[in-house]
């Protein structure tokens, strides 16, 4: 056991910190989940890419710097520490890209990855359908085989930033004759294709962060199928492990939140409910727990082990920790907690962050589903 970062890792951290310190916008950008903010965020993504920070762990040929997993964690810690803008490219970079690396082909990787990393081509996940949420295998949107490709019909919903993105990816039913989890295929679809209709949907915090996407005989060429036809479910499970687990929620995010919470407590401690001191301590312990849990996971991954159902346990923890941290912050704010504070200053950010945190126990598989997974796969309890 060696808890020190190597000299190389420390140098990497110093380089991140220096660059971010010099380049992170001094005033926060407008929310990336609004049309205006999305555009502003893409400018930032360009800047990040040009300096080689957009996708640190990727191969150099796609714009990365081939950083190790630990370096990636360090980058994330520094990124959140610097309060740098949220990544509006994340559903491409963190969720689709791993699928392309593992299941895509060279043509797809060469065509898609660099524009994705640069923010020139943006991606949304088209996962849920109106009748397939927790029961993802119940999805009904279908793809009909035609010459040179497929015609897609159906509807996807809750596509994050779908109203602003260029393309989506998701599962469609290519074989209705086999049981639910089979006969699904993983597609990428351009939103400017004929027959696509996108409708923005407002989220809890007032941003147009969701979209519904309607597919009316939309042609998708074979080159935009990922992996084998009818094998989309297996690929999707790999993606949801990413979404639940390590990639979407790196410890840096919560270390930064805990730090801000402690600063808030310091500024309010004299007037605060005495119980909040303990709540803040517990929040910090949570952040530490998640950080070291992740270091352990990454050590195992570096040594060649897979994540598996641990990602469900992981997701339960970070999503509920995030809610608790924001609840504690709002309690510290007292009566001002209901105010949006007219923008993105620190106090309004807690309210917005709280609303965002409430989505955590829902998306990427509700925590009820995750608890089933933990019980059945990790504890081997019998199916219900």
């Amino acid at each position: 056991m060696d808890l020190e970062f190597t000299e190389t890792e420390r140098a990497f951290r110093a380089e991140c910190r220096a660059w971010l310190g010099a380049h992170v916008p001094k005033t926060p950008l407008p929310s990336g989940d609004t049309r205006e903010g999305f555009a502003r965020h893409l400018e930032w993504e360009h800047e990040l890419f040009d300096a080689g920070w957009a996708v640190v762990s990727w191969p150099r040929k796609y714009g990365g710097r081939e950083a190790t997993l630990f370096e990636w964690l360090i980058f994330e810690e520094e990124y959140y520490r610097a309060q740098a803008p949220n990544r509006v490219t994340q559903n491409g970079i963190f969720l689709l890209a791993p699928v392309l690396f593992e299941y895509g082909n060279d043509e797809q990787r060469d065509r898609i990855l660099e524009p994705m990393a640069r923010g020139d081509h943006t991606w949304a996940q088209a996962w849920s359908e109106p009748n397939a949420g927790s029961d993802l295998a119940g999805l009904r949107s279908e793809a009909i085989r035609v010459e040179g490709g497929w015609r897609l019909r159906g509807q996807k919903t809750w596509c994050t930033r779908g109203a602003f993105c260029d393309s989506v990816y998701g599962l469609f039913r290519t074989n209705p004759k086999v049981p639910r989890h089979r006969g699904l295929t993983y597609f990428m679809v351009r939103l400017d294709a004929e027959g696509v209709r996108v409708r923005g949907v407002e989220r809890l915090d007032g941003d147009e962060g969701f979209a519904e996407v309607f597919f009316d005989d939309v042609f998708v060429p074979d080159t935009d199928v990922i992996g084998k036809v009818d094998k989309g479910w297996d690929i999707a499970m790999a993606t949801t492990n990413s979404e639940r687990g390590l990639t979407l929620r790196s410890p840096g995010r919560f270390m930064a939140t805990a730090t801000r919470l402690i600063e808030l407590w310091r500024s309010r401690r004299h007037a605060a409910d005495p119980a909040l001191r303990d709540a803040v301590v517990e929040a910090w312990i949570d952040a530490e727990a998640y950080r070291w849990y992740t270091y352990g996971t990454v050590t195992r991954m570096v040594e060649g082990h897979a994540m598996g159902a641990d990602s469900s346990l992981n997701k339960i923890f970070w999503s509920e920790m995030d809610v608790r941290m924001h609840e504690t912050a709002l309690a510290l704010l007292g009566p001002t907690r209901e105010l949006e504070a007219g923008g993105l200053d620190a106090e309004g950010a807690w309210l917005k962050g709280f609303q965002f945190a409430l989505a955590g126990p829902i998306y990427a598989g509700t925590n009820e589903i995750q608890r089933n997974v933990v019980a059945e796969r990790l504890l081997k309890l019998p199916k219900g």
Binding site: G133, E202, R203, P335
Partner: protein, 345 residues
């Protein structure tokens, strides 16, 4: 001992519930997020006609002369409808404060018109620093220089504070709070401020019960029809237990609010403690219900196109307003824990 409402009280509640279901449906509430005043056009006068605005005003001023215990169920209904009007401030706080503490001339100038809904009263206090409906109010009670003052809206400079609940039009007072006329000062003003906090907190607690019940109803309805894995999600034990917890929280908060109302009506010496118990618990219970409701809905609850958020955000707001749980726990601790006296007589 009879800890239950009268048939009259229940009847008034039912008629108000029907009236609000018609006059303040979700669409009307939703419109208040974007209209000028955050209020439902024409509704204020109808509430006056029903007697609700003057429910606690004296009969000689045109009110119904009823007590807090008569008001708690109507306020709960206002919560159930998420009524976007300054009902707490006007009817539950300002009118009784003016009647109890103001000189006759002020009382007679304002109360009869407040009772009908011709004018709107609101109030600013340390425990209610953001003034609800100040822009559409006619008179604002404000705490200034050790006195409680009645200042006409036109004398005040206001600054909008955006609430998470778009139907709550909140303002801070930038200047002018020293104007108008004095209601009372010195010890009387301190007493009035305490009374106002008690009244406002009780009324907010009552609304929180109604808000929580509405959110729970909405969720129970949803989980009965939403199917996943081939059956209603309400048949899964995880959802059942979430909602059983929500109901338990709400039903166990309810008697505390009713007790506080009766205690206020009886001017019980411990009424402030009873109000604090009620507000602290109603706030945490309603917030717990809201959290469970959102979780049981999943993504649809997270969309503003669905109605849940209209109620949920009101819950968040009212849980923090008129003293958040920490504020009320501190009042309880100071009175009950810090002393040496008997906990129960």
């Amino acid at each position: 001992m009879r800890f239950a409402f009268t048939d009259d009280q229940l009847g008034f509640r039912d008629s108000l519930r029907d009236m609000l279901a018609n006059e303040c449906p979700p669409g009307a509430l939703r419109a208040c997020w974007t209209n000028d005043t955050g209020r439902v056009p024409g509704l204020w006068r109808k509430l006056g006609d029903l007697g609700l605005l003057g429910i606690s005003a004296s009969e000689e001023q045109g009110g119904l002369g009823l007590a807090e215990v008569d008001m708690v169920l109507p306020l709960e209904e206002a919560g159930r409808a998420a009524l976007p009007e300054p009902l707490v401030e006007h009817a539950a706080v300002a009118i009784p404060i003016v009647e109890a503490f103001a000189p006759a001339v002020l009382r007679e100038r304002w109360v009869p018109r407040a009772v009908t809904g011709e004018v709107t009263l609101t109030i600013a206090l340390d425990d209610a620093p953001f003034v609800l409906g100040a822009d559409s109010a006619d008179l604002v009670l404000v705490w200034s220089g050790g006195a409680l003052r009645a200042v006409e809206r036109s004398e005040l400079t206001l600054a909008r504070c955006r609430s998470v609940d778009g139907a709550r039009r909140l303002f801070s007072i930038v200047s002018g709070m020293g104007g108008g006329e004095s209601i009372c000062d010195g010890e009387r003003a301190i007493e009035a401020a305490r009374d106002a906090l008690d009244r406002g907190a009780l009324a907010a607690a009552a609304q929180l019960l109604g808000l929580g019940a509405a959110v729970l109803d909405l969720t129970v309805g949803y989980v009965k029809v939403r199917e996943q894995f081939g059956k209603p999600i309400g048949s899964f034990q995880a959802i059942k237990h979430h909602l059983a917890n929500a109901l338990t929280a709400l039903e166990m908060a309810r008697p505390l609010v009713y007790r506080a109302a009766a205690s206020m009506a009886a001017r019980d010496a411990s009424r402030s403690i009873h109000v604090s118990i009620a507000k602290a618990r109603a706030s945490t219970a309603a917030q717990q219900v809201a959290r469970i409701a959102l979780q049981c809905h999943g993504a649809i609850g997270y969309s503003t196109e669905y109605d849940l958020h209209l109620w949920m955000k009101r819950i968040w707001a009212l849980a923090a307003a008129w003293g958040d749980p920490a504020r009320h726990r501190a009042r309880i601790a100071a009175a009950v824990l810090e002393g040496e006296g008997q906990v129960y007589p």
